[in-house]
Amino acid sequence: MRYLQSIGEYFLMLKGVFGRMTKRSVLKELIFKEIDGIIIGSLGIVAFLSFFIGGVVALQTALNLNNPLIPKSLIAFAARQSIILEFSPTFISIIMAGKVGSFITSSIGSMRVTEQIDALEVMGINSLNYLVFPKIIAMLTYPFVIAISMFLGVLGAYTAAVMGGFVPAQVFLQGLQEEFEPFHLFYAFFKTFLFAFILATIPSYHGYYMKGGSLEVGKASTTSFVWTSVVIIVTNYIVTQLLLS
């Protein structure tokens, strides 16, 4: 029953977010601030993880390819498919749920605890629109992060496979282009947009409706991470079932 109530509250929150709009000039400034904090601030960790995970995927494939009948170009093919289809859009989003999601929940939660949200409401400002809408708009640029992650993941795979002496560069590049389906990119970016929306709104919900003091802010951040991850995984399954099967 409590979960149903939370789902209802979440959708009512979304209605509030797209309700009375904040002054445009203020909103513009807030959006750029959020892009800087959420998107630009995450590029470093995303780049680091993508490069090394890409490398590990290539290494694992290479080390497990014992059958001489299987072409070495499969290393590049496997790396490309796993990075584009799952690693970059889904697993980076789960990592972002930990980094960005916790940040969103704790920053909005702290504002709730210190009555800053009440202050906005008393001034006659739609606090949901002021706090959450800029985050949703900022997250529209999230697919660029994923594109960078895909590129660096493949670069990491190339570096590990070619520099590690597992496969010649030409064979790797040939494998990278084998049976490439442009639709897979559409699928990856389509679900990235959905994850971006989830990443902006679920942590905001947990921060906005939290009750209690600073200890509860920490608890809300943890709950937010768990639920954001669960919803991303379930959405990933549904989208994959609908678009790829």
């Binding site: 904040t22 002054k23 000039s25 203020v26 210190t114 009555e115 800053q116 009440d118 008393v122 001034m123």
Partner: protein, 254 residues
């Protein structure tokens, strides 16, 4: 002027306000006092429009809030200033940006004009040199003064203060009390202060409402509250040792 008539408010089975009638006068500091759980904060939240009363009316300069359209309610909110217990300053903004915030949200003036008004208000609360600092870099008393500056920057008609002295030393508390009183007279505002602080009562209690269990148990001003024989009021007012001793000394003619 804010007039509250027959105000009732319940949360579930809990009847918090049980028919409050009171007039909050313009140009005066109107104090709402009472023990924790007496309904002070609920009364203020009803006046701020954050809670809808179950019964009764709240009139702002003779106009009942229940008859306001959504747009009129929004306009009314912009005529209100609020000083929260903890200040509720925005951590991510400097003092100057905090004070400028209501102006940026609701006026179309140029930044230079906004800056002039902000400087004027910061000067009024004696914080000229702190404009570039963040709330975390200034003291609790200064944070309260910034919050007052933010509350009055839009020249509100109504100022609400929720325990403005909590967490402050007696000297700073007096400074804040006097500042609230001076601004009330200067801007001719209807000021509503919720407080537990007996010093505030002595300093600025021009019109006092004493609530007990959601009922208006006593009303008057600071000259009357220390002379009343009403036990419910005296139990509250003389609950501290200091005030008890002052009373005993008065009774002994010392």
């Amino acid at each position: 002027m804010i007039e509250v008539k027959g105000l009732h408010k319940s949360f579930g089975d809990e009847h918090i306000l049980r028919g409050i009638d009171f007039v909050f006068e313009t140009g005066k500091t109107n104090l709402v006092i009472g023990q924790s759980g007496s309904g002070k904060s609920v009364l203020m939240k009803c006046m701020l429009g954050l809670f809808t009363p179950d019964k009764g009316t709240i009139e702002y300069d003779g106009k009942p809030y229940s008859t306001f359209t959504d747009e009129q309610k929004r306009d009314l909110r912009q005529e209100m200033g609020m000083l929260f217990q903890g200040g509720a300053l925005f951590d991510s903004m400097t003092v100057e940006e905090n004070v400028m915030f209501p102006l940026r949200m609701f006026t179309k003036k140029k930044k230079s004009e906004l800056k002039t008004r902000v400087d004027e208000v910061l000067e009024r609360v004696n914080l000229v040199d702190s404009g570039k600092k963040y709330p975390a870099e200034i003291s609790g008393g200064m944070q309260k003064r910034v919050a007052i500056a933010r509350a009055i920057v839009n020249r509100p008609k109504y100022l609400f203060c929720d325990e403005p002295n909590s967490g402050l030393d007696p000297h700073t508390a007096t400074v804040i009390d006097n500042l609230i009183h001076e601004l009330t007279v200067e801007y001719d505002i209807t000021t509503v202060v919720i407080t537990h602080d007996m010093n505030s009562l002595l300093e600025i209690g021009e019109n006092i409402a004493f609530l007990k269990d959601g009922v208006l148990a006593w009303k008057g001003d600071k000259s009357k509250i220390f002379k009343t024989d009403d036990e419910t009021v005296t139990d509250f007012v003389y609950s501290s040792d200091l005030f008890k001793k002052v009373r005993e000394a008065q009774q002994q003619g010392l």
